[in-house]
Symmetry: C2
């Protein structure tokens, strides 16, 4: 009986799931053992530590996506160049142990002579397309580095990274704005969030819009407790301002944890746009699809 150990090994976290032959998730693991915490040469041992029990079953197959395939990871799996479809990544696995452990390659995409890249998100994208039965879509994977991925006829044709989550953290923690922000973010203040969205949309650049968090505080027009929500609206609003969504006509798909995709849904709704949401199960689905293709090939 086929058992898939689906793994997303990112920069800061290591997540895994055990799937049976019917694609059912039998168990999940999430530990803060991202690749940045693992010394070169220790990847096999850390993998064994967390997945050894699952891997001890006969016929166990582990597919690992994410930063584990980067230069700082387990071993470097060269990027697939866009346009790239599911078959491209599924056929370019980097085997750590033959028929037992493989790394899924990331994707690279060139625009105006500048490359962009992702590792792990490509697997979530193909999983989400599979789940939703879509072959054309604009997918958004919000996060520290948000990825905007365009899919046409089942192939990823465009990819852009936005450093939204990271900029939020930098402004929140290290900038002059930090002085007037409370120590913790608290619950989302929807009014303040939408005010931030609107101001980012009206501004030509976040370099200018961000200063409003300072002046609104200075003139006591927004309480400190609402500032994190306002700032979140500013950075997400900036990310959306940079897109040409209505023009593309593609169905919009958000992939990620509900707390974050909910903010993007609000932001898109403010522009009259609707999006379908898929959770992190998209990644397991993508890895499961690769496993199914492998077993068809082997059988």
């Amino acid at each position: 009986m086929r058992r898939l150990i689906a793994v997303d090994w990112g920069s800061t976290s290591l997540r895994g799931a055990l799937l049976d032959a019917d694609s059912r998730v039998l168990g999940e693991i999430s530990v803060p053992a991202g690749i940045l915490t693992v010394a070169a040469g220790d990847f096999a041992a850390v993998f064994e530590q967390h997945f050894g029990a699952w891997m001890s079953q006969p016929g166990a197959l582990a597919l690992v996506c994410g930063m584990a395939g980067s230069r700082q990871g387990w071993r470097e799996a060269p990027y697939c160049a866009c346009p790239a479809g599911f078959a491209d990544i599924a056929s370019r696995l980097l085997w750590i142990e033959p028929d037992r452990i493989a790394l899924v390659p990331g994707l690279s995409c060139e625009e105006n002579g500048v490359p962009d890249v992702m590792r792990g998100e490509e697997t979530q994208v193909f999983g989400a397309l599979d789940l939703l039965g879509l072959a054309d879509a604009q997918l958004v994977l919000p996060g520290t580095h948000s990825k905007w991925v365009q899919v046409r006829a089942g192939k990823i044709v465009g990819l852009r990274t936005f450093m939204t989550g990271e900029l939020y953290g930098l402004l929140r923690t290290h900038s002059i704005l930090a002085r007037t922000l409370p120590p913790t973010d608290g619950e989302l203040d929807v009014d303040a969030f939408e005010r931030g969205l609107a101001h980012a949309r009206d501004s030509a650049s976040l370099l200018h819009a961000a200063f409003s968090a300072r002046t609104l505080s200075l003139f006591e027009r927004l309480p400190a407790a609402s500032m994190p929500s306002y700032l979140s609206g500013l950075v997400i609003g900036e990310e959306l301002r940079a897109q040409t969504l209505a023009a593309s006509g593609l169905p919009l798909v958000l992939i990620g944890a509900p707390a974050l995709t909910a903010r993007y849904r609000l932001a898109l709704a403010a522009q009259g746009l609707a999006a379908q949401c898929v959770g992190t199960e998209a990644g397991w689905r993508g890895l499961d699809a690769i496993a199914r293709q492998l077993s068809r090939r082997l059988s």
Copy 2:
């Protein structure tokens, strides 16, 4: 004989000059005693420590612009609202000691329901206009928080802050990009700087453009030593992308230290725009103009 002690007391530095009745600079002081280093209640003592000798002459007058007039400063001098001309700030001095020490108020400006502010730059703007004999201009004061100031018929009618220098520092020191940057900036690499300018201009947002510093490093298309210049080009290019310069038709004036204004000249030249440059003497000239007006009023 009139003696002016012209002071720009900012967040991180305290600068002063002694001017005679013919507006000649007789001496200058620059110390890292910005207002953030001074405890509430200690401002008079710190001022006396650095300017006591100059102030001991009969008829000495000190005019202080900058953050000393902020809530965290010596005493709060309320902002003048735009549109505001030279006469507005000159007539709203906040006297610490009658006819002896005064704070120059800053300016505030409202756009789309959001205020913007400056303290100190307004004095440099009026000084630069006086030096250049201009009544209409677009002035740029680059820095941690760059100020873009529009002047029509001698009045400041518009003001926008861009957190350019601060964002550069955040990205350079605290972001993922810091990993591939050398420990010090080194000399400006003009080619890399202009490549950054061009990429910012082609991108819709710095949130996206900044990631190129990561991928160009990853694909070894730009050496680490050139990265600080490239990143500088990205943030200054973003600041310029957000302007509508050619359309305004106003003469462009850059105010600041030559090392920084030189970068903005390069950036503007890349768009076929020329700018006049004024150094930090603009601030002394602005304070001197206020002093001259006061002495006319008193005589």
